[in-house]
Symmetry: C2
């Protein structure tokens, strides 16, 4: 979704909204949305979610070769959004001068892989699933992502990201 | 959220999980849990989630070489639970006499891969993430799964599974 999209538009593209509660200071607008690939519609949902970033993008991604996503991240960083990337993909290192980037150096057989594919935007929502940020994932493979603003999920992915960030 | 709320408003109001309501037919006990690997604790959470199956297990998994998970699935099937598996992994074909199993035959370079790693249990909750059901995923790699009973998520993963089931 894009900032400015009405809730109705967002909801129409993503299934029924959560149950509505009135008053009482309750916060019930938690969503869990899923998108499947190959699909340019799904890709656009992912791209729009990333473009909605205002403060930070924390990305743990095994493979990152999609130029359109790379442009979105580079633009975000240019606009002052804090970007941190952990990847197995050395193409990420070519993305920009000072994007904070850590590459897992493991490459020998039987070494561990940073196989995650998740992204936390503004500590506000998390994107996770099977989807690598690659052309094959976008155009050929059967893949899925799930996007949620569940605070439990966001908090625990943030914790994991920070742990990995120290580790690599 | 109200129809007409901007996306920014909706997002700004998101926060901790909704309070739990009893009765009233409200569906408020929705959970979104995440687990990270390598970790035997996380593995046990996954195993226990699978062991909780009472009716059906629908599994779309790129790679499936973990014998412990294979035993859980085989036992479930033996106990009358309906099991359907779509995989790229031909080891799955050796699991049991009559587990319903479809293998994606694509293996040439540049062919599409069934790269999903999701599992729907009893149409009650879905497990998704980067985690393949393999020893490397369990013991070496940095991986994550997310388990949710969100009805939107369960419904849309079910829809996708049925679509893939027809397609392969
Ligand atoms: Zn910078
Ligand atoms: Zn059978």
């Amino acid at each position: 979704p894009q900032v400015g999209d009405s809730w109705a538009t967002v909801a129409a593209n993503s299934g029924p909204p959560p149950p509505q509660h009135q008053g009482g200071g309750e916060r019930t607008n938690i969503y869990v949305r899923s998108f499947f690939f190959p699909s340019e519609d799904s890709f656009n949902q992912l791209a729009n979610a990333l473009k909605s970033a205002k403060h930070s993008i924390d990305l743990a991604i095994y493979s990152f070769t999609d130029n359109d996503l790379s442009k979105i991240i580079t633009n975000a960083h240019r606009n002052g959004i804090k970007v941190r990337i952990i990847s197995e993909d050395d193409q990420v290192g070519k993305m920009g001068n000072d994007i904070e980037f850590l590459r897992d150096e493991a490459s020998a057989p039987n070494e561990s892989l940073m196989h995650n594919k998740f992204c936390i935007v503004d500590k506000r929502f998390v994107i996770t699933g099977s989807y690598n940020w690659s052309k094959a994932a976008r155009r050929q493979n059967q893949e899925n992502i799930l996007i949620t603003n569940s605070p439990e999920a966001v908090q625990s992915y943030c914790r994991e990201f920070n742990k990995l960030w120290k580790q690599f």
